[in-house]
């Protein structure tokens, strides 16, 4: 019996065969149309349905500490959206000030960013939902109070995102992973110790929930040498500035 199964599997090993093994998710997804927003990280793209962030849907980033790299994870996609779409990128109640010089250095068009500071959880949910469903935002990032996020609210936000064709991202604490959510994609972020000798920055991404697959741990996202990334985003860095940027690291 086992031998026959092996035989069958061997016969269908090549891509495009009618039989596929669930563990080859990446290979299967590769055959799908890649309609997602490219994350800018090849390993992550391979693990995601539609090979990128959902273009119209809700996702969650779960992490306990601020500043682990959650913004840099999204930056490549935000750069792409701000360059190609003439819609807002809404930031609903971020915990700190999104720092304009750094955002611009990363290549994000500041004119497309809309900073919304609602008072209270009800207003915050309303503002995010409004931003999503009007279709006036290509992306919306929300830091909503956990108390306001029950299942029906999350479901409503997911529907609003789909309706307005917006990529919605909610930032939530790690323990929220235990609660059910209407988000189609949920990622847990945790830090990885820097690799000596180079203080390169890495982030461990664990997929808690994804469409077309099951939870998956162990994706490692490495951020490019920051000064290089900043240089790449600019059009024509002069050698002097490149040298200056490199020296500071």
């Amino acid at each position: 019996m086992a031998a026959r199964v092996e035989q069958l599997l061997d016969a269908n090993a090549e891509p495009g065969a009618e039989l596929w093994r669930a563990r080859d998710f990446a290979r299967v997804v590769a055959g799908q149309r890649s309609s997602g927003i490219a994350t800018g990280f090849a390993d992550l793209d391979a693990a995601l349905f539609e090979r990128g962030w959902p273009r119209a849907g809700l996702m969650e980033l779960l992490s306990d500490a601020a500043g682990l790299g959650e913004l840099r994870l999204l930056t490549p996609a935000l750069v792409m959206l701000s360059a190609t779409e003439n819609r807002w990128i809404a930031w609903v109640d971020p915990p700190f000030v999104p720092y304009a010089p750094a955002l611009e250095a990363a290549g994000i068009d500041l004119g497309k960013l809309l900073l919304i500071r609602p008072e209270g959880e009800r207003e915050a949910v309303w503002a995010l939902e409004q931003a999503l469903k009007t279709g006036a935002c290509s992306a919306a990032l929300g830091w909503l109070p956990e108390a306001g996020l029950d299942f029906s609210t999350l479901r409503r936000l997911a529907i609003a995102a789909r309706q307005g064709g917006a990529w919605a991202t909610l930032f939530r604490p790690a323990h929220a992973a235990r609660r059910a959510s209407g988000a189609e994609l949920r990622l847990r972020l945790s830090p990885l110790p820097p690799l000596p000798p180079l203080p390169s920055e890495r982030l461990h991404v664990e997929i808690v929930k994804r469409p077309g697959g099951w939870p998956l741990a162990g994706i490692e996202v490495g951020f490019a040498e920051p000064s290089d990334a900043a240089m790449l985003a600019r059009e024509e860095p002069t050698p002097a500035q490149a040298a200056c940027g490199g020296a500071s690291e």
């Binding site: 500490a65 601020a66 003439n86 960013l113 207003e123 600019r234």
Partner: protein, 475 residues
């Protein structure tokens, strides 16, 4: 193009300003208009009993006891004329007020719309009479001729004007009493004789005003008129029969006002960026709610939707009795360019709409866009402003930006113990403004115990006195 003027004359304007709200029966009573205690105008019934212009009020009252008398109110007449001018504005964009009781409308521009002149004049007369004024209308090629014909109650139509003009009594022209007396003494009763005289001879014998008048009358000399401009402010009110305390119940009268405003704006090709609602109670307390739009708008549904959002978080007085809507900031409206095949999402209109909705509910301060400032100090290198302003594009790539900056900046630097961090890179020295009393700071990139990349700085107060602050996360 040949001009064609319609003049409307309101012979009873002096009476009508006093009794606009009174019963129509009043017109059937003898009445006089007095100025400085002398009769300046008498209505038909008063004239029938023998009251003449120039009599004192006492004489008039002795002739007809119980006669109504009104003191002439020139300011009110002028105000009413201005209102009637707006009625005339429906018919032509060139409307001029001709005090004391006339209105001039240039008709050639909109003649085709009304098919012919009699139909035009008829519709104009109907509109003006609806306002409660006795109206006489005449047409002529020059404004002055039309006005004099209307004053004389003559029905001059173009072509026939010269004949009609000859029957216009001289008393109807705006000559000074002295000139009028002289003309009368010389035997001139109407314009007929006067028009036949050679102008040079006339100029020798009379004041320039007479020749001037004749030249304008016949069109030999241009007669420029100041045209009215409709007011660019809107104000309308609804007074409720019963007091209303519930916000939802207010929406119905508000919808009426919003529709009225939308029509008012559409008639003028205007849009507004600012609505002001006033909710007044019987006791005089009132609450104001301001609704702003990013772009000039003239859509009543948009007015109402945003106003509703605004109301939801507003404190209104109990027992609202009247609602006033004002639109002060009106600007010429250009309809948005719409593309037949445009995508449903992402039109600039929906982007502006979103901003309007957010501002209406959350307030102006809650919705911002980011911009860069030219300042080397990290906390001053950015700013936020309301959306819609011209964000200054910063093209420079200064060395400060070329260095690494965190994506998150803390509102205020947070004091920390440096022992909990592992320093990775630095220092980068940034001088703070000595004029603000700041000290220079040495910035470091560090990793916190939780694994987040942080932006720390060390501020030296003096020798050996180092203080560490957390200023941002690289996010």
């Amino acid at each position: 193009m040949k001009t064609l003027w319609l003049a409307a004359h309101f012979p009873m304007l002096g009476f009508e300003v006093h009794r606009c709200a009174a019963a129509p029966d009043d017109a059937r009573k003898a009445a006089v208009l007095i100025e400085a205690n002398r009769v300046v105008q008498a209505n038909l019934l008063a004239q029938e009993v023998g009251i003449e212009v120039g009599m004192t009020l006492a004489t008039a009252q002795s002739i007809a006891t119980g006669i109504d008398h009104f003191v002439r109110d020139e300011a009110a007449e002028h105000k009413r004329l201005a209102l009637l001018g707006l009625v005339g504005y429906r018919f032509s964009s060139q409307v001029s007020i001709a005090p004391p009781a006339g209105l001039l409308i240039e008709a050639s521009g909109s003649l085709r719309l009304f098919n012919n002149l009699p139909a035009f004049a008829e519709q104009l007369a109907v509109r003006l009479r609806q306002q409660g004024h006795e109206t006489r209308i005449a047409a002529a090629d020059t404004p002055l001729a039309a006005l004099l014909l209307a004053r004389s109650g003559l029905d001059g139509l173009p072509g026939d004007v010269q004949t009609a003009l000859r029957r216009v009594p001289l008393a109807n022209a705006d000559f000074s009493p002295r000139t009028l007396e002289r003309l009368e003494n010389m035997g001139f009763r109407s314009f007929e004789a006067l028009l036949r005289l050679p102008a040079a001879e006339l100029a020798q014998r009379f004041e320039p005003a007479v020749v001037e008048c004749l030249a304008r009358l016949t069109g030999r000399k241009p007669d420029p008129r100041a045209f009215i401009k409709p007011p660019e402010k809107f104000r309308s009110a609804v007074h409720l029969l019963e007091s209303v305390s519930e916000k939802d119940a207010l929406l119905f009268p508000m919808r009426r006002l919003a529709t009225e405003l939308a029509r008012w704006l559409a008639a003028r090709s205007f849009g507004t960026e600012l609505l002001i609602w006033e909710f007044q109670t019987l006791r005089g307390a009132s609450a104001r709610q301001v609704v702003r739009f990013a772009d000039p708008t003239r859509n009543s549904a948009a007015f109402l939707a945003l106003s509703k959002l605004r109301l939801e978080r507003a404190e209104l007085p109990q027992e609202v009795m009247s609602i006033v809507l004002r639109a002060d900031l009106t600007t010429p409206f250009t309809p948005p360019d719409t593309d037949l095949f445009a995508r449903r999402n992402g039109s600039s209109a929906s982007c502006a709409e979103l901003v309007d909705q957010l501002i209406a509910r959350l307030g102006t301060e809650a919705v911002r866009v980011l911009a860069i400032c030219d300042d080397h100090r990290p906390e001053r290198a950015w700013t936020s402003m309301p959306p819609g302003g011209n964000a200054r594009r910063s093209e420079r790539v200064s060395s400060a930006v070329a260095n690494r900056r965190p994506l998150w900046l803390l509102d205020a630097p947070k004091p920390v113990a440096v022992a909990q961090f592992e320093l990775l890179a630095g220092p980068e020295r940034i001088e703070t403004g000595w004029w603000d009393g700041g000290k220079c700071r040495d910035y470091f990139v560090a990793v916190s115990a939780a694994g987040a990349q942080c932006w720390l700085f060390c501020s030296r107060q003096g020798a050996g006195d180092e203080r560490w602050f957390l200023h941002g996360y690289f996010g």
